[in-house]
């Protein structure tokens, strides 16, 4: 089984590999910002125009923030945002100005506030390893996702709401993978198709609970909706605007693939310890 430390290291490498996309950054202040960011150690990718940006965003999964000084950003950004709604954008004035270094620092700080702390990747990896029968040997990959394509034929989504954390968590797998998991978990054959779909819903529910508990222990409580499930091929779901979506793809040695995506915005709201303590997973707590 992949150790938690390896999972965490993988997530850290992934997050360290994210880059900022600059569109039309050859002239003026943006060029200065790119240079200042590189000086701060923030990797950047510069493209010449919206067409190239479009192509780059389709293929490069490490881009986590877009910056542009395009002279007609309204139309251009509208198109890019429509195609890649989860990618946040910063618009800067085209005219050269003396605050390039400050702008670069702001962008750098924004990247440091990335909501996808590596601990959450670790939390998901541990939860799957303990609950998902065939994932005794987990191989995880992580990438930022910008389109809304549902990666498998069954996808269950749970909404998260709170003062300090909001967004949604999705769980997707094929019907065959869910069928096998039902047999493993329940020790019997599923009777109806809904029994198979219910596996996705229940896992989305449980993983959301695990992620929320992680944030709760950080002093950020939240609540969650009941799961909703879609079934079909070539489905799309609209991502939440301006909120990066992190996809964690788990592949077992038996060939089962499951996808966990979370698209959560967060802000710290204090660190008071929760009254009921740490709620150890699965241990009964007498109220």
């Amino acid at each position: 089984m992949m150790a938690a430390e390896e999972l965490q290291a993988g997530a850290a490498d992934f997050l360290a590999g994210t880059r900022v996309l600059f569109v039309e950054a050859r002239y003026g202040s943006l060029r200065q910002v790119v240079q200042a960011l590189k000086h701060l150690g923030v990797p950047c990718e510069a493209v010449c125009g919206p067409g190239e940006a479009n192509t780059t965003l389709e293929t490069d999964v490490g881009l986590c923030l877009g910056v542009t000084d395009l002279s007609d950003p309204g139309v251009i950004l509208q198109e890019l945002r429509y195609r890649f709604p989860a990618l946040p954008w910063i618009e800067v004035p085209r005219a050269p100005h003396p605050a390039a270094a400050e702008l670069a620092r702001n962008i750098s700080d924004r990247l440091k506030d990335h909501p996808y702390d590596v601990e959450v990747v670790d939390v998901i990896g541990r939860a799957l390893a303990s609950q998902w029968g065939s994932f005794g040997d987990v191989r995880s990959t992580h990438y930022l996702r910008r389109d809304g394509r549902v990666p498998e034929t069954v996808c269950a989504t749970v909404e998260v709401a709170g003062r300090g954390v909001w967004g949604r968590v999705a769980f997707a797998a094929s019907e065959q993978v869910l069928y096998r998991q039902y047999r493993r978990s329940c020790g019997e054959e599923p009777v109806r198709a809904d029994d198979v779909y219910d596996v996705a819903a229940e896992f989305a529910n449980r993983l959301t609970g695990v992620i929320r508990r992680h944030y709760r222990l950080l002093g950020v409580p939240s609540t969650q909706s009941a799961p909703s499930t879609v079934v079909g091929r070539d489905l799309y779901q609209r991502p939440i605007a301006d909120t990066p979506a992190l996809m964690v793809e788990h592949r077992s040695i038996t060939g089962d693939v499951i996808y966990v995506e979370w698209q959560l915005g967060t802000k710290p709201v204090g660190s008071a310890p929760p009254p009921y303590g740490q709620l150890p997973t699965g241990e009964p707590v007498y109220l």
């Binding site: 020790g187 529910n205 707590v285 007498y286």
Partner: protein
């Protein structure tokens, strides 16, 4: 000797079947897929212990618990909430409604089975005294 009877109320088929797999050897189980169906079972049958999920359609777990506690003979029946919920406000409401034991999903088989066995043998109050 008559086997104990447990009512499981959860909208997830998988969750109900997992509980059945864990508890089937020691008791007779009746399943309901939401609070209203569970309440109908509790009105017409006698159970020694109730396990309920909190987030369910039609009737949620807390409302179910509140109504079950009002039924004749259910004031002292051990009541377990099995849930993904970790919100303190919800826990407080669940306790006020009458939940005795809170079990966070994903389940751990051994602690859950032990807690159920203890509750069936000596009630939830004595279980609480020996809880870690």
């Amino acid at each position: 000797m008559e086997r104990p009877r447990i009512l499981i109320v959860d909208d997830s088929t998988m969750a109900r079947r997992e509980l059945r797999k864990l508890l089937d050897h020691m008791c007779d189980l009746v399943e309901a897929d939401h609070g209203a169906a569970g309440l109908a079972c509790a009105r017409t049958q006698r159970f020694d212990l109730v396990i309920v999920d909190l987030h369910m359609p039609v009737m949620g777990g807390i409302e179910f618990v509140r109504l079950v506690r009002g039924l004749p003979g259910y004031a002292e029946v051990p009541l377990f909430a099995v849930t993904t919920e970790s919100n303190d406000e919800v826990m407080t409401r669940a306790r006020a409604a009458g939940v005795d034991v809170w079990v966070h999903k994903p389940l751990q088989a051994a602690p859950l089975v032990r807690a159920v066995e203890q509750a069936l043998v000596s009630g939830v109050r004595s279980s609480a005294r020996v809880a870690p």
